[in-house]
């Protein structure tokens, strides 16, 4: 990775601040794969499939953030966040320090393939920009990972439930082989990388 900025906000009131014994890491791994035409296909929210050339994604900044479950986007600070650059391998793996105690968290990955990111944003002096058309975001359709009594997960996030072990989630640019097959399409919306409309 040519660029990796990390901000560890360990002692925010909402952060875990757990002891070594009960603190765990969160890992999000994103793998992008090309189709037969050599393009990167992505689902859009309307279940259409849009593509990016790999060259339009490689080298672009990505943001990973961990927030309290059900956070208010733009208004609640991250418990942990980092910037990186999409590598030529098109595989990203972001692992937090072991700071998260038992509880629910929302983790987001955004690849800014279209939206410019300023140096101040990369330095955490300003908030990351809102993702816009053509950018890529983590996404899962179902609320299967939201435990009873926990808040709904925020848009573009994946719910990370910490119990007594580190938590890992894998996502990829999943698309249905037959876009007319509703079950396939619904399945492709789980743990996917979505293109922002």
């Amino acid at each position: 990775m040519s660029l990796r900025h990390v901000l560890f906000l360990a002692c925010l009131p909402l952060a875990a601040c757990a002891t070594d014994d009960d603190a765990h890491t969160l890992t999000m791994s994103a793998t992008l794969t090309t189709n037969a035409a050599g393009e990167l296909p992505f689902l859009s929210p309307s279940a259409t499939i849009a593509t990016h050339a790999p060259a339009d994604v490689v080298g672009k900044p990505y943001y990973v953030g961990v927030f309290p479950a059900g956070f208010s986007s733009g208004n609640d600070p991250a418990l942990y966040q980092e910037w990186g650059t999409v590598p030529a391998s098109l595989s990203i793996e972001a692992t937090t320090p072991a700071i998260f105690s038992k509880g629910a968290y929302d983790m987001v990955l955004v690849m800014y393939t279209n939206t410019p990111v300023t140096p101040a944003q990369l330095a955490f002096e300003q908030m990351p920009p809102a993702a816009a058309g053509g950018d890529l975001s983590s996404f899962t359709l179902s609320a299967a990972d939201v435990l009873p009594g926990d808040p709904d997960q925020a848009l573009g996030t994946l719910r990370m439930n910490v119990a007594d072990a580190d938590v890992r989630v894998d996502i990829s640019n999943r698309t249905p082989t037959d876009p007319a097959d509703r079950d396939q399409t619904v399945a492709a919306f789980e743990h996917t990388v979505l293109i922002i409309p």
Partner: protein, 377 residues
Amino acid sequence: MTRTLLAAIGALGLAACTDAPVSTDLPVDPATGLRIAALPPVPALPDWPDNPPTEDKKALGRMLFNDMRLSGSGRTVCGNCHLQTTAFQSGGPLDSPDRSFPAITPTLHRHTPSLLNLVYAPMARWDGAHFTDIPDLMVLPFAEPNMNLSKLAVSAGDEIDVPAAQANLQRALTVDIPGYAPLFQQAFGEDITTATPARTWRLAGLAMAVYIRIAVSRDSDFDAWNAGDDAAISDAAKRGAVLFTGKAKCVLCHSGPLLSDFKFHNVSTSVPDASGQRPDDGRFLVTGVEEDRGAFLTPMLRSAARTSPYLHDGSQVSIAKVIEHFTSASGQADPLNDLNLLEPLSQGEIDDLVQFIKSLDGAPIPIADLAPPPTLP
């Protein structure tokens, strides 16, 4: 535009001129049952005697809202920008509803507003254009070239051709997708295969209005506190509520149960350049009144913490940044600005206001009834 705002601000009293600690010990007024009468709870859903809500209408509206075959490109639905899971907005600054990737155009030139509480709104859209009532508002996007739902050219900008769109929708619902006609029959007792395009258009709007009717943000923690529950919100949120209705003067525009006066104000969010050109003339585009340049509809604030980014162009990511804009030089940069008497707030006061607005988050909406339907005709 509301020039009387200036006088009203002046009448707010001496409290605005002090930095004294904010008292949150507000009694409940026996007459209103509220601590802050200017921010009452959301009322019961309105009766629609001319369009009684039914399950059939709601189900039909849900389909129309989520059927991409009705779009010009065949690639988009209302729910693409008004996502049910995110307060019926998109989370992005400016949307490209057509999804004509990789050329991601046309991009809308204004931020997609949330549809929460639209059922109560006496005015809608950032500039109020074409607004008559909620059914017409719901079906109007089928006529908008920049949303490409009308099978019209995209290049027409904001000009809309409703009769052409009505004919297109009629054809789509009766010829292209014949399965819709029985559903209209069931919902309204009318045969759209023999109805005029204008009538079918209206029925589609009525169905979509019944669908969006239940997307309501209400029963927030603030409402509980306002009715007397001391423990319902944090001290910071209480201070924010007092600031909101006092020193910060937000309540001058953000008032009533939905925290909007549903009027158009210039808050220096589309400032003219040296040549006098604005990025967006706002309400002026509808009225032609010079004073309306750069004025936009006051947005509702319930569940606003779920609808980042903010302002008509989606240019502010956080509520705090919006408040900072209003209370700094940038917020007074427009010669037509309505709010040029606002005074700076401390960071602590801004934080308190944010906590108050977050306390306006309503009880969960019935997502299961609002999500894309399992089947389409």
